[in-house]
Amino acid sequence: MGDFLQYTVIGLTVGSFYALVALGYTIVYGIIRLINFAQGDLSMVGAFLGWTLLVSFGFEHLPIYLALVIAFVVPMIGTAVVNLGILQFAYKPLLRRSLLAILITALGMSLLLQNSAELIWGAAIEAYPPNLLPSSGFFVGPVHVTYVQIALVVASLLLMGGLVAFIQGTTIGTAMRALAVDHDAARLMGINVDAVIRIAFVLGAMLAAASGVMLGIYYVQIHFTMGFLLGLRAFTAAVLGGIGNIPGAMAGGMLIGLLEAYTTGYLSGTWEDVVVFGVLITVLIVKPTGLFGERVAERM
């Protein structure tokens, strides 16, 4: 039982990272039906930008709150710019073309980001400052909870809450929801479709970058290929929760995190992806719209 709870704590922490990236997939997919394969790699870019600021620029020596604000905000902006560039140069001309063309381009962008990162930051594993946040924790019964875990989960919950508030409470959010239903109708109502798509890409990138920095803080080690598996699991989470469905993406992320933690705990770390994909395939076969139902109409 103690083990189980311990794995649950780990799973929820990791799951909140996946949930953030999954939200990026879901927002972009909901609006333009594009699987932005580069989503995970945007996370990686965010992680490296954060690392550059903290370690290369030495911001880790600043007061902790200031360092954290810089380490989150700057990569979020930087990654958003990168994603906007991707949208403008690669996806925009293809939006009206076949699904295959867009998907292959998205794959190309993912490869491009990875290899550019390798060129810029090198192929070596880099390390976040290990003691940025106090590594101590406390026990709840037999379960050890660290302050880092609490801080990261709270931060991602805040980001998710902010996102929901944005989408539900603002005019732009309403426009996004309208676009998810019908592009042409939204355009006829005077919504600037291109601008809304750009906002979706900015939001997706910001969430991805934040999760990247969190991963860096949590796992310490970062590598230019880290985005691949992260993106894959996050996408799995998005599909599991029903793509286009925002609460679904959050729940899906948590679920994947838990699944991963239990597999590692009870079975072995080497089987993680087999279990994760096995569950994904099973869910898609049994309920193709995901556990919580899809929020998009099929493009005929």
Partner: protein
């Protein structure tokens, strides 16, 4: 581009040469080109060059397999390396553990990968294409990780010491030997792929890519065709895997990563999706380019990524795109006189009907005679959320009559058609055709039972020629098997010719023979509707459902349509019509049903319907309604 070329003398020579070449059998061209390549490489006599050439051949083989999946069937597969891995491991384990000969392991490598393809494909091919991409990606990773964790297969170390292949006592152990084997396998793969592409399967795949829903509705078993492409592609991957294993001598899970799947995809996208020479060219670029740019090997993938994205933006058709020659319809067919055509259609149709009735009776079912009930709809209910689109509708259609369904927009007419043709499953109620229930059958099965249809919004395969559209409609009537298509046997050729002949007859039946070679999208609205009618008739249905066939037609065209509908009835085919043009409906229909808000409010002969107060009310509103009186006066 080709058209521009033919304007110039050089272009004309090129066109002539191409035409001549086009008439030689495909296999001879493949054999000649590959032998030429083989001779050139072997006479170069450089081990390094030959080794690179073997790699190119391996990638080309993989590309050809994936091309069937992606290029022909239009399914995105991001885990193709899994099939390569399964083939490689099957062959390697059989050779090292069971000490089999390489060539004996091949059937098993192919069998295992084919089975894996079927197991993965069957449940997942119903998914949307982008989901399928992720599922295949997941499958690829699962396969690799499983091999990585599987002790018997050597775990992370893989299988070592795989012996050379032994060909009747001759050990193949030089790069040149492997190159010859590789070219041989490649030749077979290319010939089979080309034959498939030009068979009814190829046509079915194009139709599915263009409009899967329409393809299924005119009789193409879309799931089966997709599954077949998947299994075929998997089998080629398995073959390439076995070849790879024995050539390298040691395999481990790192040879079968996601990156490999992406590289193979790049091979075909770079070369031109669906193009066979494109696959060869793509393989050459993907393998040889990094060899040429050795010092750049650090940024190899970066260059690829840029190439890939640039390619999609600037030259999405690929380096050697698939050339769609302007289709020459009816090339080599005998001319037929118009009266002759009509007589043949009638005869052929009667033969078909009799054969069908006989089979039907032999199976113990009652065969409705003319005037007896052919289609019976009983208590049909279809509901979307709170809206009852079809509410407890019952009627029956007699064999040989023209039956019209009319009613205001939103009355549930098209929903009714969709329930009958298997596009939707009704909530409640029965649909009996020929005395047998057809509820819950897939659309293509219902087509083969003998119901054809057209669509309210035209759903032709826009980028196929008119006659090809009709040939897709003939899909259920092919008599040849897949292996015959792959080998392009005389039987299959005869079958294709017969299909072509019949498509021509049906086009002449609707008066469009002269348009046969045009792309469907180039035709006028009215002509497109007629092509849809020909496509629906091609399968020799018992019953056709036409959804607003006169929409968008001018008065002359409508008059011609009336003639066509009567001609169809004269063939003995029962016609059910949804139509808004009252004069047309009144002129052709034997009986008319009126649907309003999903409810059947009237059923009877045209004269009865015209004077039915409920019908007048549904169309024009009640007497005390000002608007109603106004419209009534105008009318």
């Amino acid at each position: 581009m080709i058209a521009q070329l033919t304007e110039r003398p050089v272009g004309r020579v090129y066109a002539t040469v191409r035409d001549r070449l086009g008439r030689t059998p495909y296999w001879s061209r493949v054999v000649v080109s590959l032998v030429a390549i083989g001779v050139a490489v072997i006479f170069w006599n450089d081990d390094y060059v030959t080794a690179v050439a073997v790699s190119v051949a391996t990638y080309a083989m993989l590309g050809l397999g994936l091309n069937i999946v992606v290029g022909y069937a239009g399914l995105l597969d991001l885990g193709y390396a899994a099939f390569f891995a399964i083939g490689a491991y099957t062959s390697a384990l059989l050779m090292t553990q069971a000490h089999w000969n390489f060539f004996t392991t091949l059937p098993f490598a192919v069998l295992f990968t084919g089975t894996a393809g079927a197991i993965l494909g069957y449940p997942t091919l119903r998914l949307r294409s982008d989901y399928l991409a992720i599922v295949t990606l997941g499958f690829g990773e699962m396969t690799r990780i499983t091999f990585n964790n599987w002790e018997y297969a050597g775990g992370p170390n893989g299988v070592l010491g795989i012996p050379w292949p032994n060909f009747f006592g001759y050990e193949l152990n030089t790069q040149a030997d492997f190159f010859i084997v590789g070219l041989f396998l490649l030749a077979i793969a290319m010939i089979f792929a080309e034959h498939l592409d030009h068979s009814r399967l190829g046509r079915g795949w194009v139709a599915i890519r263009e409009d899967e829903f329409a393809a299924e509705s005119v009789g193409v078993p879309s799931l089966r065709l997709k599954l077949f492409a998947y299994v075929m592609g998997g089998m080629w991957g398995g073959l390439a895997g076995a070849f790879f294993a024995t050539r390298i001598g040691a395999i481990d899970p790192t040879s079968f990563t996601f990156q490999l799947s992406v590289l193979i995809l790049i091979v075909i996208v770079l070369g031109g999706t669906g193009s066979l020479p494109g696959v060869l060219l793509g393989a050459l670029v993907v393998v040889a380019l990094p060899e040429l740019l050795r010092e750049l090997s650090d940024v190899r993938l970066l260059v690829f990524a840029i190439l890939l994205v640039g390619m999609m933006l600037l030259r999405p058709q690929g380096l050697w795109p698939r050339i769609r020659r302007k289709p020459k319809p009816f090339y080599g067919l005998q001319e037929e006189e118009p009266e002759d055509v009509a007589a043949r259609i009638l005869r052929e149709h009667q033969v078909q009907m009799e054969e069908r009735d006989r089979r039907h009776a032999a199976a113990g079912h009652k065969v409705p005679a003319a005037g007896e009930i052919l289609l019976e709809v009983d208590g049909l209910v279809q509901q979307f959320g709170g809206l009852r689109a079809v509410d407890n509708v019952s009627f029956s259609v007699r064999r040989g009559e023209i039956f019209s369904i009319i009613g205001p927009n939103g009355g549930g007419k098209t929903t009714l058609f969709n329930c009958i043709t298997g596009v939707q499953r009704p909530k409640r109620g029965r649909v009996l055709f020929d005395g047998r229930s057809i509820v819950g059958l897939r659309p293509h099965v219902i087509v083969s039972r003998g119901i054809g249809r057209t669509f309210q919004g035209i759903r032709l395969f826009k980028n196929m020629a008119v006659f090809e559209n009709v040939m897709v409609g003939l899909y259920p009537r092919h008599r040849t098997m897949t292996w015959q298509a792959m080998l392009h046997t005389p039987g299959e050729r005869k079958d294709e010719l017969r299909t072509l002949q019949e498509s021509r007859r049906w086009l002449s039946f609707v008066g469009l023979e002269s348009m046969a070679g045009q792309l469907a999208s180039q035709l006028s609205y009215a002509d497109q509707r007629r092509v849809e009618i020909a496509r629906a008739l091609a399968a020799h249905p018992h019953l056709v459902l036409f959804d607003e066939p006169a929409a968008g037609m001018n008065p002359t065209e409508k008059l011609e349509l009336v003639g066509i509908i009567r001609k169809i009835r004269d063939l003995g085919i029962t016609v059910v019509l949804i139509e808004h043009d009252m004069s047309l409906v009144m002129r052709v229909s034997g009986r008319i049903a009126v649907l309003d808000h999903g409810i059947l409010i009237a059923l009877g002969k045209p004269a009865e319907i015209q004077n039915d107060p409920a019908v007048i009310e549904a169309y024009l509103g009640r007497e005390d309604d000002d608007m109603g009186r106004l419209t009534a006066q105008e009318a």
